[in-house]
Structures are given as structure tokens and as C-alpha cells.
Amino acid sequence: MFAAASAAILVTMALALFRAIRGPTIYDRILAVNAFGTLTVVLIAVHGFLAGRPEFLDIALVYALINFIATIAVTKYVKFSHLGHPLGEDERGDV
């Protein structure tokens, strides 16, 4: 049963990767990579149960944190072209 869930997650990851390669705008690619990262977290968790080693959940938790930070960082980089503090002309300063 875990193997079937893993196969379904892999097919879903392939579809998300197709959109990430194909996507017309950069935002489509960021969105698809974010969904791909979430599916990777789920795949790591399911694989831990499949292999009988639930210690993989620690890796899944860290991967979820990195995925969130990476998506926010890439979104900010695309909008402002750098990751530093605001330049001063924009009061709000970030996304």
C-alpha cells in the first residue's frame, strides 16, 4: 500500500515537473517547484514507512522548512533582483 502511494506521488511529481519545465512565466515555474517540494516531503515520509525506518521524518521536516524558505527567497529575488534590505524608495520593502 505504501508502494502504491509512492508510485502515485512519483507520477504527480512528474506532472508538476512538466509544468516547471514548460511554464510560460517565471511564476509558473516557482509555483510548480513549490508543489514539487511539498510532494518531496510526502514522498520522504512515505518512503520512511515503506522501508520500515520512520526516522526519515526528521529529514522530511527539515525539507519542509527549506522548501518554504527557498520559495520565499526566490520570489523576493525575482521581484527585487537581490536579497538584501530595501533600498529606501519602497516603504514596504519586500513582498
Binding site: 506532472l15 508543489a35 511539498t38 510526502v42 514507512f49
Partner: protein, 119 residues
């Protein structure tokens, strides 16, 4: 009782896989980036939540379930935040939403405008 837990776990896993697949088909087929966020939302909430709920039911009350709950809670907070930031970035970056069945707008990701065009 163990059989009941197994059946519930399998049902959650299958339903979660199905919802994740439906969300990915939405990411492929929907017309522009704002509607594709809807498909990504299905993957991030129903797909991820049901699969991890199935794993929780399989495991019972142990430390593993605590870690699964932590993952679910974090993604439930992180996914709307990411989608909100991405939607604002796309709107400020010149992507106009497709309304009323018109064709998808041409990709102008590098051009910054003042906001969405009011048509």
C-alpha cells in the same frame, strides 16, 4: 480493531494520492498562474494532509505521529503564505489574470507595471 485502523489508513492514503494527482492535473491544464495556484493548493492541503493522516493512523500514538503532526501544521501555515507572496509578486510583475475565457496573456515576466490593468 487493527483491521479497522488498516482500512482507515489505506482509505486516507488512496484518497490523498487521488487528490494530489487531481491537483497536478490542475497545475498542467489550467490557463494561467493564478488558477494554477488553485491546483497547487489542492496538492498542498488535501493531498499532503490525507496522505500524512493515513500514516498517522497506521502508526498510532507514538513520537512518529508527533513529527507527522509537526509537518502537517507547518505546511498548513507555509503553503498559504507562499501562495500569497507569489500571487502578489506575479500581479506586480505584470501578469494579468485571464478573465471571461480570453486567451492567456503573453509572458512578460521581466516587465514591471504599476499593477493589474483594469479592463
Amino acid at each position: 480493531m487493527a483491521l479497522l485502523a488498516d482500512i482507515a489508513s489505506w482509505a486516507c492514503l488512496i484518497a490523498g494520492s487521488l487528490f494530489a494527482f487531481i491537483g497536478a492535473v490542475g497545475i498542467i491544464r489550467l490557463p494561467d498562474v493564478f488558477t494554477r495556484m488553485h491546483g497547487a493548493g489542492i496538492v498542498d492541503t488535501l493531498g499532503m494532509g490525507l496522505i500524512l493522516a493515513g500514516l498517522m493512523i497506521h502508526e498510532g500514538f507514538t513520537m512518529v505521529t508527533v513529527k507527522l503532526v509537526l509537518i502537517v501544521v507547518f505546511i498548513f501555515f507555509a503553503s498559504p503564505t507562499t501562495t500569497h507572496a507569489l500571487a502578489r509578486a506575479a500581479l506586480n510583475g505584470g501578469v494579468t489574470p485571464v478573465v471571461d475565457g480570453k486567451d492567456a496573456p503573453s509572458a512578460k515576466s521581466s516587465e514591471r507595471t504599476d499593477g493589474p490593468s483594469k479592463t
